[in-house]
Assembly symmetry: C2
Homo-oligomer: 455 residues x 2
């Protein structure tokens, strides 16, 4: 690791310690002892700046309180972990987190009716409106992860006698949200390309409505699924749902925040997105957006009352349990939002990089792409059973040899030991980094005697 990265981190820590001196001081100014403490830290910072300038020095801080390591993989390596790429924070989000991280920070200027989405300082109210517009819906709320968005919807719409139709490639949290609400699930089969079609949805719906005697309480489908990142016909599934007047939930965990999403144009009654998966926000965060029609049910306000006191709870929304993300998490999400909105316009470029990498991987003889090809997403599942896994069979490190070789080249995020089917994401990497990544795989292939087309 470039020592300057370590020193940049130590600089951040030093400034946090300086900040802490002020947090203990009187508003009238620092005491002599506090001045001395600040001065000592400033001296340390000057030393660190000198070390950064010279590129010298040794690590002084090697872990955080609680035995937590310093996480530097985004600074020292190319991280291709499939679920992490879209949630990497922007520098704006990191700055916001630094200044708004304290517990209930956004509640400084909370006024009646005491609801997160009505706070104007910081501009949460405007952010909520922007979010709704961003996904082409009427109203939006922030939630602690996409799964809590599913839960709000299933809890509001799905009873114990109800059934829900979902994609057989759906995320596990969709199934759990139905289980938690007490409903039952039925699946839309994927075709042999591992894609969910409008026809499959319509056919399955017809059969099930006939069998079960009523339409589903909800239909859900991931636009791109988490297993192969294949694109599914969400518009067609929505249309099939609407044939039976069933509401359609668009799972945009892999789309909202990385590509343009227009919920109403797709026929969505609900759009769910994930902050930490695709909106450059800290976990847990996400968005649940809906139409004016369904907002009345899913964002309904409380009606419960104390039986002795008659207490009621105003404008609090039941399914959200009042406020959701009350501090740095939502402010970081907001701070990333201008960059996130901008980046969705460049989705084609991200898809081009994804295809470039997969093409270069396919040049390694025996490699295959499990995901649909050409790629329409930055996440891909590939199969190197016929290439890297043949090396693993006789290598003393077995499947770990590939990880070792990647690691030497500064590439992290592949599942440890995997040399058969594995996933990666090229999202957000510059062309230079994608080329470096593809070169690295081909170099490793050549080192172990695998044939590489054009090499």
């Amino acid at each position: 690791m470039d020592i300057r990265i370590q020193k940049i981190i130590e600089g951040l820590f030093c400034l946090e310690d300086m900040r802490e001196v002020y947090r203990g001081a009187l508003p009238t100014g620092l005491s002599p002892d506090e001045e001395a403490a600040l001065g000592a830290k400033l001296g340390e910072l000057e030393g660190l700046v000198g070390e950064i300038r010279a590129g010298t020095g040794r690590p002084r801080v090697t872990q955080l309180a609680g035995g937590i390591a310093l996480r530097t993989r985004e600074e020292t390596a190319i991280n291709i972990q499939p679920i992490q790429a879209g949630g990497r924070l922007t520098p704006e989000a990191r700055k916001a987190l630094a200044l708004w991280g304290d517990g209930y920070s956004v509640c400084d200027a909370c006024r009646a009716p005491f609801r997160l989405d009505r706070i104007t300082k910081p501009p949460l109210a405007a952010f909520h409106e922007d979010l709704a517009a961003f996904v082409g819906m009427d109203r939006a709320r922030v939630v602690p992860g996409a799964r809590r968005g599913f839960q709000a919807v299933t809890s509001a719409l799905v009873g114990r006698e109800d059934w829900v139709l979902l994609s057989s490639l759906g995320h596990y949290t969709e199934y759990l949200a139905v289980e938690q609400a007490g409903g039952s699930v039925h699946e839309i089969p994927a075709d042999d390309r591992r894609v969910v079609t409008a026809e499959a949805a319509a056919e399955r719906l017809d059969t099930l409505v006939r069998e079960l005697g009523k339409p589903p309480a909800l239909v859900m489908c991931d636009h791109f699924d988490y297993r192969d990142a294949n694109e599914h016909d969400v518009r067609g599934v929505a249309r099939a749902a609407h044939q039976y007047d069933a509401p359609f939930l668009y799972n945009g965990a892999y789309t909202v925040g990385v590509m343009p999403v227009d919920g109403k144009a797709l026929g969505a009654d609900f759009v769910v997105g994930s902050g930490h998966k695709s909106m450059a926000a800290p976990a847990p965060s996400g968005v649940l957006a809906t139409t004016d029609e369904y907002a009345e049910r899913v964002f309904r306000t409380t009606r419960i009352a104390g039986d002795l006191t008659g207490r009621t709870f105003g404008a609090k929304e039941v399914e959200l349990l009042g406020c959701t993300l009350m501090g740095g998490t939502v402010v970081a999400m907001m701070a990333s939002f201008p960059a996130v909105r901008e980046r969705t316009a460049h989705w084609d470029g991200e898809v081009a990089k994804s295809n470039y990498f997969v093409d270069r991987l396919l040049e390694i003889e025996g490699s295959a792409c499990i995901s649909e090809y050409p790629r329409k997403h930055a996440v891909s599942k590939v199969d190197t059973t016929g290439s890297f896994d043949t090396v693993a069979k006789t290598h003393k490190r077995r499947g770990f040899f590939l990880q070792d070789e990647l690691s030497k080249r500064g590439i992290v995020g592949v599942f440890a030991g995997a040399t058969r089917a594995w996933k990666l994401s090229t999202y957000g990497l510059s062309w230079r980094r994608v080329e470096y990544l593809a070169d690295a795989y081909q170099e490793i292939a050549e080192k172990y005697g695998l044939a590489v087309a054009g090499a």
Copy 2:
């Protein structure tokens, strides 16, 4: 504001920008352009360090992306906002947030069975065990806020025909969690001291069980309530609940993380705490702890299966919807934990400071303490209708005069315009700061001609 605070913040931002250069670079090192960008930022940082040393300079950054202000109230003022004090981050938490803020950061080394509480790098598994021990229970999970802990319990235990007994001074999210689960609520009355007693709980239970024909599905009580921060007889309420074999949920939003809590000794079947309220953690965070007995119900693993695919979801816990806090939020909570554990041992000192402040306020003639007195908590509700409000009646700024005067003295966090009943917290303030705070109130009183005993 001391310009050095501004410059410390600008320094943090500068280092984040330097870090970002590495995030776009190849693992082999910086390109000439990147070196130049880093150098420019380093030059800026050197300038900032010089400005901190000299105490000079002008603000260069005045807001964050998305129109978000720089939040500096913890550095520039004494913040007595009642719900924020226990959630103020430790410097350790801020450092952890800086390094682990990226989306799914804790998933780097996630292995089968793919659950947050089993991850060992960072040491989440050990943290979960520590958390359970910390509150004197068998098992613990982190949740996105105390309310999500209530929800997990009500969702698991409370059906549509069920009723729940809760404190009439309970937090609104307890009522909402029951409403969300579809149950009904009945309240334990508070006595004229605004305290919930064991006798009141037992009596109400006897009456209701007779009337409703069955015991409650759950009994909940806040140890200290959010309205007056009075202490309630949670041990006695638990005992009354157990007379009818009803489980007892201890709401420790105002205790877990600030004072010692031994759940089993109190008779709790569930202990719920809030990270952003009392554990120096970012929002949304919290803890839900229970016994081995109830863990089987509330932390049960999924049993749903896909009807076509037969897909099942292993060890995922239904009420938690799988994983909960997957990034910086939980790591910051962990980084604060050693300090949080330590600080609970000094609760008596915090209570002493609270009483000191209230006593000094009561010296201002016409002031009263609405909360039970002497104080047993750092949060207090006071009544200055007979003192500061008499000034407000004729002041041209009305009730805002008090806020103006406090603000001039660097005191923030009082509800804007409030001069009758209002709340504050002295939690975590040094003695020097508490004295300054009390002096400020007495000074303002004297300035406006209010009588101050002993003055």
